[in-house]
Symmetry: C2
Amino acid sequence: MEPRWKGKGSEAKALADPMSKLVAQLQSSLIQTNTCGLLSGCSVLVAVETEHADLFSHSCFGQPILTAEKDKHWFQLGMEEAFYLCHFLKCLKIVGEDNCPKDDGELWHYMKSRKATFPTFYMAYSHFRKKNWVVRSGLQYGVDFIAYRHHPSLVHSEYAVLVLSEGDDDTNGRLRLWSDVHCTIRLCGSVAKTLLVLSIKKNQCSVFPLCLESYTVVERTITRWSPKQNREDCQ
Amino acid sequence: MEPRWKGKGSEAKALADPMSKLVAQLQSSLIQTNTCGLLSGCSVLVAVETEHADLFSHSCFGQPILTAEKDKHWFQLGMEEAFYLCHFLKCLKIVGEDNCPKDDGELWHYMKSRKATFPTFYMAYSHFRKKNWVVRSGLQYGVDFIAYRHHPSLVHSEYAVLVLSEGDDDTNGRLRLWSDVHCTIRLCGSVAKTLLVLSIKKNQCSVFPLCLESYTVVERTITRWSPKQNREDCQ
């Protein structure tokens, strides 16, 4: 499936400002301003000046929070986003509710304790982000993530992503019943997305940060096979 | 949601020939002709004369099979359909691949051995049929059944049905993950069906035919709650 750009000029705009550049801009800006995020439940809240707010929006990190403050802009980051900025891009410090800075290991354990699927979801999230894909929640389509080639204002998302954890007792996983497979593929088709299944095989070692190394991610797209469109005489 | 009739006059047609009448016609015709079905894998095959073929079609049992025979019409019945005609309507005899007639108990055990979900699926199927709803496979929508108020040529299906088995170790069930719930509801919405979940609570007794008695079926419809449409000032 070809990317579906939103209107004229969107593709050129995306080419002129590749996502790698926008993320690098956010990264250096956060480092320069020594920006700090506040851990709050399953989110991290970040307050930035007006000039930096656009960088969050353009690089698609977090959701803006509406407040009455004039010069401060608040962003709410999901756990995967926050950990990526903190651990991989090394541009965000995070303090706990007790106002003490948390190191990466403490954060990892905290986030894992709040959400059992955090390790595999983080691996999936960072897998996409490292390839400069934009990742958003797949809540409204009943999947784990949706992936965009560039900013959602310029292009429709191309992939509906399900994250499966391979190897361990994956009784909670999706796509274990044919009816679920059919349901998911039919929905993806009707919203013009390709179903992409990421199978994450965890490392034997469960100690942070070693557990992040040498895990494997297998990408599989699943599409409907239509007998009508695949007959010999149609080729 | 109101029933969506297919074109003008369909509702009147359905009222003139209620499903209960069409099924009764099939039933008495099959009894008179002493019709026999042939067990073949997970299906039952039935051959009928031209004049009786319409009764199968009108009452929505089985799928017609195209053959070169002129005066014989073949129908392929699913296991739930066949067992309903045989055990509940008592109008179809079934012989095995060894050409020996099977009694209801033998059939029950055979069908259960071919498909572990047969008992709960049969309870769901018969639950609808007894209320004169037409039931078809939900394969293309990723659900277990779809239910029609009358013949599919007259009306669009209203319910997408998932059958859940309550009580026992239901690790294979649907809707155990929020993402699955979201996916299913979103799909049902896009094809204008209401998601109907049938929870079947099995009887303690597992011996046929006692296991068919006193099971309970709980019907639940699941719809999306939209905050926008449910604000106080919108009411």
